[in-house]
Every structure is written in structure tokens, then in C-alpha cells.
Symmetry: C2
Subunit: 165 residues, 2 copies
């Protein structure tokens, strides 16, 4: 069964910063993102999952070179938003499957996740839209992830550059 996937992309030049257990009240997401916007830090991905008790985790994907600067900024905000902890990991990579088939074919996500699972690659974060599924994985697994997805989606021309999606 052929799905309309146009490419697999990977990027290891990223860092993941997470403010753990911030207050889950209006204004917190604005305060965090404004602090980085004011410093002109480009946020590549924002992922916030479901709340637990009255708190939530707020994860950001930024470039590796912005990691230290962003951590300093967020340290100052963390008090205000009552973050229990700030976790920074620069040893992560993003791997994405892109194409119009993501939306129209429910099997694309399962195929992507299965290809990663078959290669013992644990998925740390997931952010998906109608045309793209992005997974954050360990940086040292990026090459095998791209190879596995290349095979799973039968792609002949592989792209290893980042593209805006």
C-alpha cells in the first residue's frame, strides 16, 4: 500500500528544554514564550501534553546554539510560573515524516512508530499535524531512524536536511 509521503527529514542540531510541572493556569504559556521571543530565540516546536493535578510540562525544541542562553532566560521565569525543574537535553534529534498522506492515511503514524520500535528507538516527544509527524529521539539514533523510515516508506531519494513544515 503506497502512502503519499514526500520525505523523511532529520535534525540533530537541536536541544530540548522542558519546564516541568508549571501551573496550569491562563498566562503561563504566554509568559514562557514571551521571555524567549523578547530574546529573539526561535522556538522550533512547542509540545504540551495533558495536565496532572494542577500542573503541566511545557517542552520546547530550539537550536543547540540557543540552549545555554534559553536556559538562563527560563531560569528567571521558572520562579514566576512555579516550574519544579528545568530539564535541558542537547543530545536529542528530531526525525519527521512529511507528506499529504499523513492526513489521509491513518496507517502512516503506526508505520513510522513501528519502524522506530523495530530498531529499539524510544520516542521521547511526539508532535504531529495533518502533513507531518515529528518525533524527538536520542541524537545517536538519528542515522538508524532515518534508515528505518527510508525502508518503511520505500523512499528512494532521502533528504537529510531540515525543511520548514
Amino acid at each position: 500500500e503506497k502512502v503519499a509521503i514526500t520525505g523523511v527529514t532529520g535534525d540533530a542540531e537541536i536541544a530540548r528544554i522542558a519546564l516541568m510541572q508549571v501551573k496550569d493556569i491562563p498566562g503561563v504559556a504566554a509568559r514562557i514564550s514571551k521571555s524567549l521571543a523578547d530574546a529573539n530565540v526561535h522556538i522550533q516546536l512547542i509540545i504540551q501534553g495533558i495536565r496532572h493535578d494542577q500542573t503541566n510540562d511545557f517542552s520546547l525544541i530550539i537550536s543547540q546554539e540557543d540552549a545555554q542562553h534559553s536556559q538562563d532566560i527560563l531560569q528567571r521565569v521558572s520562579q514566576e510560573v512555579k516550574a519544579q525543574e528545568i530539564q535541558v537535553d542537547t543530545h536529542v534529534a528530531r526525525v519527521s515524516v512529511i507528506g499529504s498522506g499523513v492526513a489521509s492515511n491513518p496507517g502512516v503514524a503506526a508505520r513510522m512508530f513501528q519502524a522506530l520500535a523495530d530498531n529499539e528507538i524510544n520516542i521521547q516527544l511526539i508532535s504531529s499535524s495533518e502533513i507531518r509527524i515529528a518525533c524527538i529521539i536520542q541524537e545517536d539514533q538519528l542515522d538508524s531512524a532515518i534508515r528505518a523510515l527510508h525502508e518503511a516508506f520505500d523512499l528512494s531519494n532521502l533528504e537529510r536536511k531540515t525543511i520548514s513544515t
Copy 2:
């Protein structure tokens, strides 16, 4: 300051299903998404945040009409992936800001979140990409969210339909 935002879209015909505290090991995401793909359920968004002690929460946005059927399917899978709980909420809506300016201008996310905060709208889930930021909010706040974003981004032509992004 003008940002290149092409529209604000909203959709109240959705449901949020979350498998709480699944095992954070390879294969779990594949098992969950495959169970829905096999039943031809279209997953609109997948959001998975950061792990806590070897477990993770796996949130799905689907159409409201798929909610009951999906819940039944996931009940059967939850044992296998050791989900502590399945949370279903059909009283949610998705509001998105879309445009090339999302990527190039770090202030877009802060402006979106601030507009929601100013209207006392709590953001339950966030999934963003380079061209789109989607927030899951309470269904009964969708109209005020769209109005607030319309004002914040100075959009004259408002789109209330869902588009593939």
C-alpha cells in the same frame, strides 16, 4: 509589527483521548496508533510530552463521532501498554494560528498565548510546527478564542472552517 499569519481556524467537532502513564519503551506508540489505524480511525493530532518516571502520557485528537469507538478500542490496548487510565473529553475544541510568520517570528506564539490568557482561556494541550500553532481549549471558549486571536493578529477575513495544516 505585522506578522505573516494567513488565518485563524477553529474546530469544536473534536474529542481528546489520552492514555495516561503508558510505559515509555519502544513499541508503545506503534501499538496504540496501529490499533486505531486498523479500525480506520483518523487521528488528527498526536501529542506526547516529556516522561515522568519511566511512563508517559499519549494524547490523541480525533473527531467527536469517533470518540466512543476509539475508547472501546483503546480499552483493549490499555492493558498491553500499561496505561493507568484513559481520559476522554468531548467538550474540547482546537484553535490554530496558521501562516509562514509562525516560523520566522518568535513573537507569534507569545502573542497567541497572550490573547488566550487575556480572555481567561486555559490551554490544555499545545502542538506546534513551523507554520502552525494548535491549542486545545474548552469547547465553550472557542468563539471567544477566535475573536481574541482575530484581534491580536489584526485579521480582517476570519476563517472558521478547519483546513489541513
